[in-house]
């Protein structure tokens, strides 16, 4: 959905820059970072709707970054990017709660489609959460409004 906030995480700077440009052209608000640590910091600064996260990165890799993100308890969906060699890791990431995975090189239309799917998932789970259908006290991800109340206000 146009206007969705996307966080692009990949150690290939040119790739993130190009992808950011392509996604921006298609109406998304894109933040591009080049490491797992930078991604955590960016999320702490500003929540996003969908994270596109590369699996193989120096330092904090995709899986570790995903685990760290989940500790933040955000209402966000993650798409894993893989160089295909790490499909096992991508499947592992999905077990950890990632929405889906994409193999490099990927078509922009394919990525957009997956982002849209992820956004819808995020949206529906947020609605569920607000209606209290899938949440019990002290469990599960908190609402974006709860996590970042000041900014929402």
């Amino acid at each position: 959905m146009n206007g969705s906030k996307i966080l692009l995480v990949d150690d290939e700077e040119i790739f993130t820059r190009n992808m950011a440009k392509l996604l921006t052209t298609r109406g998304y608000k894109v933040t591009a970072v080049n490491s797992g640590d930078a991604a955590i910091r960016a999320l702490e600064a500003q929540p996003v709707d969908v994270i596109v996260l590369d699996l193989k990165m120096p330092g904090l890799d995709g899986l570790s970054t995903l685990k760290e993100i989940q500790k933040l308890g955000l209402f966000t969906q993650t798409l894993m990017l893989t160089g295909h060699g790490s499909i096992d890791s991508a499947l592992e990431a999905m077990k950890l709660g990632a929405y889906d995975y994409l193999t490099k090189p990927c078509e922009i239309d394919e990525l957009v489609a997956k982002i849209e799917g992820a956004w819808k998932k995020k949206d529906s789970s947020l609605k569920d959460d607000m209606q209290g259908k899938s949440r019990t006290a002290g469990e599960g991800p908190k609402s974006v409004f709860e996590v970042f109340p000041a900014k929402k206000r």
């Binding site: 490099k104 090189p105 078509e107």
Partner: protein, 586 residues
């Protein structure tokens, strides 16, 4: 067209016996046979030698004993002969007077008395102290002979009794005499007898010892006193050097040629003893070979036995070594196959790791190229109007970039698939049904190439547990290759057959085609990654590597038989249950 038939093991590498290996086998064969022979023959020969030495010594002792006994017997007999006749003469001389004996009739009585049992005397004479005959009985006319100068005359007067050596005398034939003295009124007289040479010689010469044995007498000058059996004659000088005076029996082995002897061997056993009176040497001799005939026979038997034993050992050593060598060859071959399989596996594993890294690293720049293309397309869209020719070229280039990106993606995709260690999903697989599905999938492509599928599937094939996705990949690759092998050769056939293995523990699948076949020089490389004979862009050279990798993972084996120009057959065996490590993934 040359028809080459190549068979390849799972490893994909032919097993060949190198010249060096063949030379090693030959060397091993020689060494082992030699060692076996040495270790067996040395003790055998030692035992044989021991038996021979012991038996020869024993036999020699027995023979020496026998010879000594023989000589002793003859010695006694001859001594007895002399003693008997000298005693008889002495008795006659002492019991009869000279006067009585000087009558020829009386002397003849005495002569006949002595010769009563055996004709041992040739003649008998009574001689006075001047050497003149007083009386004579015998075949010769000797009455007028005077013996005063005869060599024996003084001897007998001096000693009282004398036995001469053989001599010719007045009668000019070999004989010897025996003379005794007596005296009357201080005048000595002599009773002299000529011993019958034939009787005496018969006593000595008629003794037979084997075929080559002989007995003879020699005087102190080494002259024959009897005629030896072989060569030489009485009164001749014996060729053997005369033995020095010795006490008792002397036995020795003499090697000397006897002139005129028929015996081929010159080695003889010579046993001798000196008589007391006369001082003659009694010699008993026999050919060494004849005497030791029994020993030689025994030794020959031992030799034959040793020879047969040695031959038996040689044959056994050769057979055993050959059998061992066959076993070693088989083990070596198996070990070679295993080694080559391991080498191929480790080669594939390292290439796999490398491929995974390369593929991953290529995917990133590919992703960037892809995004750059997309950006350019976006820009072009935003820019709007472009010159027509530029627009066409731009679209062509963008399209070509996309095609090449997809091509690279396909290559990296295959590379990763080749190296991937994904989690296997083990399921029960009905191989026949599974193959029919894959055949269905490929049928359209095959039909387009004019190729017909023929399936011969065993209806009672057992259900197996395997990874369907890997099996699908395996069959797709093999069938694709089978179809591609018919390039430029329409109306081909791809036959797929399944059977159970003989042990009931697996299934056998064969995929054969009527395509171009694989040449012998390519056969070694077909399972190597990136090896392809397909045109550039059509094959990545990973298909069979992937197949090999999959079969290995599933615990099976693959063989390939190919005849260039005729076709290729892949035989695959897969276990009904995958290896334990595969199950662990599940």
């Amino acid at each position: 067209m040359t028809t080459t038939k190549a068979t390849i093991a799972t490893s994909g590498l032919p097993i060949e016996g190198s010249d060096r290996r063949r030379e090693q086998y030959k060397r091993f064969f020689r060494r082992f046979v030699l060692l076996t022979l040495v270790s067996s023959l040395v003790p055998l020969l030692l035992v044989g030698w021991g038996i021979n030495v012991h038996y020869t010594r024993f036999a020699r002792e027995r023979l020496t004993e026998k010879f000594n006994r023989e000589v002793d017997n003859h010695h006694r007999a001859i001594e007895l002969f002399f003693k008997e006749h000298s005693s008889k003469l002495q008795l006659m001389a002492r019991t009869h007077s000279k006067e009585y004996l000087s009558h020829p009739g009386n002397l003849n009585k005495v002569f006949e008395l002595i010769n009563h049992d055996h004709p041992t005397l040739t003649d008998l004479g009574l001689i006075d102290h001047t050497g003149r005959h007083l009386a004579y009985v015998g075949p010769y006319d000797l009455m007028d002979k005077n013996y005063a100068d005869a060599f024996w005359f003084q001897q007998v007067l001096k000693k009282g009794i004398f036995i001469s050596d053989m001599f010719l005398g007045f009668r000019r034939e070999p004989h010897f005499i025996m003379a005794v003295t007596s005296s009357e009124n201080g005048e000595p007289w002599i009773l002299r007898a000529t011993i019958n040479t034939e009787t005496f010689r018969a006593l000595v010469e008629n003794v037979r010892i084997g075929k080559s044995g002989e007995v003879y007498l020699l005087n102190t000058e080494g002259i024959y006193q009897t005629t030896p059996r072989f060569g030489g004659a009485i009164m001749e000088v014996a060729p053997l050097p005369l033995l020095a005076e010795h006490q008792g029996t002397d036995l020795r082995f003499v090697t000397q040629d006897y002139p005129g002897r028929s015996s081929t061997s010159s080695r003889r056993i010579v046993c001798s003893v000196w008589l007391k009176e006369p001082r003659w040497l009694l010699v008993v001799t026999q050919s060494y070979d004849e005497a030791f005939n029994a020993v030689n026979h025994a030794n020959f038997a031992v030799l034959v036995f040793l020879l047969i034993s040695a031959l038996t050992i040689l044959i056994v050593a050769v057979l055993v070594t050959r059998h061992m060598l066959t076993m070693i060859r088989r083990r070596d071959r198996e070990s070679d196959q295993l080694n080559q399989q391991l080498m191929q596996t480790s080669k594939l594993a390292s290439i796999g790791e490398l491929s995974a890294g390369v593929a991953h690293e290529i995917n990133n720049p590919l992703a960037i190229i892809s995004t750059e293309r997309q950006i350019l397309l976006d820009c072009a869209k935003q820019t709007g109007q472009m010159e027509v020719s530029f627009q066409e070229q731009f679209n062509d280039s963008m399209s070509q970039i996309d095609i090449q990106i997809q091509r690279c993606k396909r290559i990296t995709h295959n590379l990763l698939r080749f190296s991937r260690r994904t989690q296997s999903v083990m399921e029960t697989v009905h191989l026949n049904a599974f193959i029919l599905e894959v055949v269905d999938l490929m049928e359209r492509e095959a039909r387009a190439s004019g190729i017909k599928f023929v399936t011969t599937l065993e209806p009672e094939l057992p259900v197996m547990i395997s990874d369907p996705s890997q099996l699908q990949q395996l069959f797709l690759n093999l069938i694709t290759n089978a179809i591609d092998a018919h390039d430029g050769k329409p109306y081909g056939r791809v036959e797929i057959a399944t059977t159970g293995t003989a042990d009931g523990q697996g299934v056998r699948l064969s995929i054969s085609d009527t395509g171009c076949g694989i040449s012998a020089e390519h056969m070694e490389k077909i399972f190597d990654p990136f090896f392809t004979t397909k045109p550039v862009g059509k094959g990545t050279g990973l298909g069979l590597s992937i197949c090999f990798s999959i079969i290995q993972r599933l615990g099976g084996r693959i063989d390939v038989h190919s005849e260039p120009g005729q076709g290729t057959r892949f035989d695959i065996e897969l276990p009904l249950h995958p290896p334990a490590e595969m199950m662990q993934y599940n």
